[in-house]
């Protein structure tokens, strides 16, 4: 199966290890992965901040870049949500775009991806995965099948972490108050690793945990699923 990777601008720029993990994982599962180099950004930041007109050409560009692929996979619920739910309101008809967990479970039909990750993990389901895409507990099903992984349920998991794109800057104090409660819930689990399907949320919660020297590491779901006994995940310094 030929699959195009939409890395998202954030992951491409700040978290390349996540995109490399998606490639590794999908290839292990028999997909042929392509990364069209003309891709940039889905336009979510512009759209959500009130710059709808600026988002339109980015939505068109997305369709141009990916229109010849049957499947586009993004390691982000919120970027996939932007493409699927918002791009059609901007006058484009985007190609079929999936968030990673959806693609694995719904399209490839797998929950056990043969991963090995011997760590205590808790999972934040992210708002747009839950409410825009309806990803449900697919990420949890994938994590439960990972060998060696000790999955601890996150209290109040469906509550927003306070990121919200430019909200985190425009309403920084309210965002931080939300983050404080999310971090309390994460720390209550005693997990070593906080995972999510979105590097934006992970950057936010992880940024707070790092500031507090909390001793919990953010790791994208793709990196956990890509990890195997033969080639285990290693923390990038």
């Amino acid at each position: 199966m030929k699959v195009a990777l939409f890395a998202t601008c954030l992951t491409d720029t700040f978290f390349p290890s996540t995109a490399r993990a998606v490639v590794r994982l999908l290839e292990r599962l028999g997909c042929s992965v392509e990364f069209p180099l003309d891709q940039t950004c889905c336009g979510q930041m512009h759209f959500n901040t009130g710059y709808r007109e600026h988002a339109k050409p980015l939505a068109r560009k997305y369709t141009d870049v990916f229109q010849n692929y049957d499947y586009v996979v993004a390691p982000s619920g919120s970027c996939a949500g932007m493409v699927r739910e918002i791009h059609p309101t901007l006058g484009t008809s985007p190609p079929r775009t999936f968030e990673l967990a959806e693609f694995l479970v719904d399209v490839l039909g797998v929950t056990d991806v043969g991963a090995w990750f011997p760590h205590r993990v808790t999972y934040h389901p992210t708002c747009h995965s839950l409410r825009m895409l309806g990803v449900g507990d697919k990420p949890m099903a994938l994590l439960r099948a990972v060998k060696g992984l000790d999955l601890v349920e996150l209290p109040d998991s469906t509550h927003c972490c306070g990121f919200g794109g430019t909200f985190a800057v425009k309403n920084a104090e309210t965002s931080t108050a939300m983050l404080a409660d999310k971090m309390r819930c994460v720390l209550d689990t005693g997990a070593e690793v906080l995972s999510a399907g979105d590097n934006s949320c992970l950057m936010h919660i992880g940024g707070g945990l790092s500031r507090l020297r909390a001793g919990v590491r953010p790791v994208h779901l793709a990196e956990i699923l890509a990890s195997t006994e033969e080639d285990p995940w290693r923390a990038t310094p």
């Binding site: 890395a7 601008c9 992951t11 491409d12 720029t13 700040f14 978290f15 390349p16 995109a19 490399r20 990364f35 180099l37 003309d38 891709q39 940039t40 950004c41 336009g43 930041m45 512009h46 759209f47 959500n48 901040t49 009130g50 710059y51 709808r52 600026h54 980015l58 560009k61 708002c127 747009h128 839950l130 409410r131 825009m132 469906t158 509550h159 927003c160 306070g162 919200g164 794109g165 909200f167 985190a168 800057v169 425009k170 309403n171 920084a172 104090e173 309210t174 965002s175 931080t176 108050a177 939300m178 950057m203 936010h204 992880g206 940024g207 707070g208 790092s210 500031r211 990038t236 310094p237």
Partner: protein
């Protein structure tokens, strides 16, 4: 035109108001407890219903139909109410509505009036207008009474005193009623009961809002939990009801949908405790004079906006407030309006109708767009979509700003993969600002982020660089 009192004069913008509210630990504690409790109860009440999603769709469709036929339905309502002995008044804005109500009170020589909890009268600042005209309005809803006696502002649609705990309420009652009372809920309720009972029996004019008005019969419906509303609606000689023009349903059959949706969404009850319905005037039974004041106050201009108009579907249940992570932390007063929370963030700016108003224009940004509000809304108002729609209006009204210049530049960069890649490479130089793989301090506006969060150091090699080297 006079300013719309839907926002409180002199209120700071949302981030400034939130700054103060977030530091109030008592407020934070009160809200966490109250919203957490009601959230869980609502979820349980809704989970019992196998047809909840169908009910939501029905609620949405009935309200959309009403909004599409508002002109004819309103005329039908006027005819029905008049035929049953009521008098209908039309008010373009708050000022007109307040004048109509004041004149009606004066015609009865009423120095005091009792009130049923009502958002419409709070929206138009009726109590203040009556006071200025020499008529004292007494709130009879327990939470409204707490707000009124505390010289306070409401902070929630359903529970306007949600920001107060029982020891704070005890203090207010002792100070204003001159009674000794414990902080036990039963004792507090008894003190309010004694205080209010005398008012119900001696006051000749009552003022209410309306949850629904049935166009084909002219029946008005009020839902409440305490029975105090029922007292106001039945004991006085004159009843004045102030109602937003969007509160219509076409027929009694449509009411059935909302009498299921509203209680479960607002108080998590299966059935509403006190549902009062009256149709005009009934000789020898209840108020012998009935006036219905229909207010526009920004609704017609809201109706003109094809995306924004869905805010007029709102049935004031408060479910969106109770699930909102922003509301839970900042409280309702930070929104500077009687309509706080997610619905306030979309309704208030539209009723104000001026995106140059800094306070109103700050409200659509008071959301992380998490979507919890849309998920619970009984009439399926897509609040996140309206928020981004209104944000675009604010951006347009503001014109050229530092932000708009930066956004244009970013859009220009994203429009071309080669420009994007160059920017990425230049940006990765920020890794030299990093220590131990993280950046702890950035200049403004990045400082807003780094005030509480580290930024990971950008890696030397982006994913696309890696791809080109290894796969390209």
């Amino acid at each position: 035109m006079a300013r719309n009192p839907v926002t409180w004069l002199g209120s700071p913008t949302f981030p400034k108001a939130a700054h103060k509210a977030l530091a109030d630990t008592q407020l934070r504690q009160n809200l966490r407890k109250a919203t957490g409790t009601i959230r869980a109860r609502r979820a349980a009440a809704v989970a019992e219903m196998t047809d909840w999603e169908m009910l939501r769709v029905a609620g949405e469709q009935i309200k959309d139909d009403v909004l599409a036929r508002l002109d004819t339905l309103l005329v039908q309502l006027e005819e029905s109410v008049t035929a049953r002995g009521g008098v209908v008044h039309w008010a373009r804005d708050a000022e007109e509505a307040n004048r109509i109500v004041l004149d009606l009170c004066r015609a009865q020589n009423a120095a005091e009036v009792v009130k049923v909890k009502s958002m419409a009268t709070a929206e138009i600042g009726l109590n203040e207008a009556l006071e200025a005209g020499g008529v004292h309005a007494i709130e009879t809803d327990l939470a409204e009474l707490i707000v009124q006696l505390g010289d306070d502002r409401p902070s929630h649609i359903l529970v306007p005193a949600i920001h107060r705990n029982r020891s704070e309420i005890r203090e207010i009652f002792q100070r204003r009623m001159g009674v000794e009372v414990s902080d036990e809920p039963a004792d507090l309720a008894e003190a309010a009961r004694v205080y209010l009972r005398e008012k119900f029996l001696t006051t000749k004019v009552a003022i209410s809002g309306a949850n629904f008005a049935v166009a084909d019969t002219g029946s008005i419906v009020v839902l409440e939990s305490e029975g105090n509303g029922r007292m106001c609606l039945t004991l006085p000689e004159t009843l004045i009801t102030v109602m937003g023009i969007e509160k219509l349903v076409p027929t009694w059959q449509d009411l059935e949908v909302f009498l299921q949706l509203l209680p479960r969404s607002s108080t998590a009850e299966r059935m509403n405790p006190y549902t009062s319905v009256w149709t005009g005037v009934t000789p020898g039974d209840g108020p012998q004079q009935f006036h219905l004041v229909l207010i526009d106050n920004g609704r017609t201009q809201t109706l003109e906006d094809s995306i924004g108009r869905q805010a007029l579907r709102c049935i004031r249940c408060s479910a969106c407030l109770n699930v909102c992570p922003v509301y839970e932390r900042t409280g309702g007063q930070s929104y500077g309006s009687v309509y706080p929370g997610p619905i306030g963030a979309i309704l208030t700016p539209q009723l104000v109708g001026d995106m140059h108003d800094k306070q109103a224009a700050s409200l659509p940004f008071a959301s992380s767009l998490c979507g919890a509000c849309f998920e619970v809304c009984p009439v399926r108002i897509d609040i996140p979509s309206v928020l981004t729609h209104l944000r675009a209006e604010v951006v347009e009204a503001k014109g050229r700003t530092a932000e708009s210049v930066a956004m244009s530049a970013a859009a220009w960069i994203f429009a071309s993969a080669s420009r994007y890649e160059k920017a990425q490479k230049a940006g990765s130089l920020a890794r030299f600002l990093a220590k131990d793989g993280k950046i702890t301090s950035l200049p403004w506006p990045g400082s807003k982020w780094t005030s509480s969060r580290d930024v990971p150091a950008p890696p030397q090699e982006s994913f696309r660089t890696w791809w080109r080297k290894n796969r390209g």
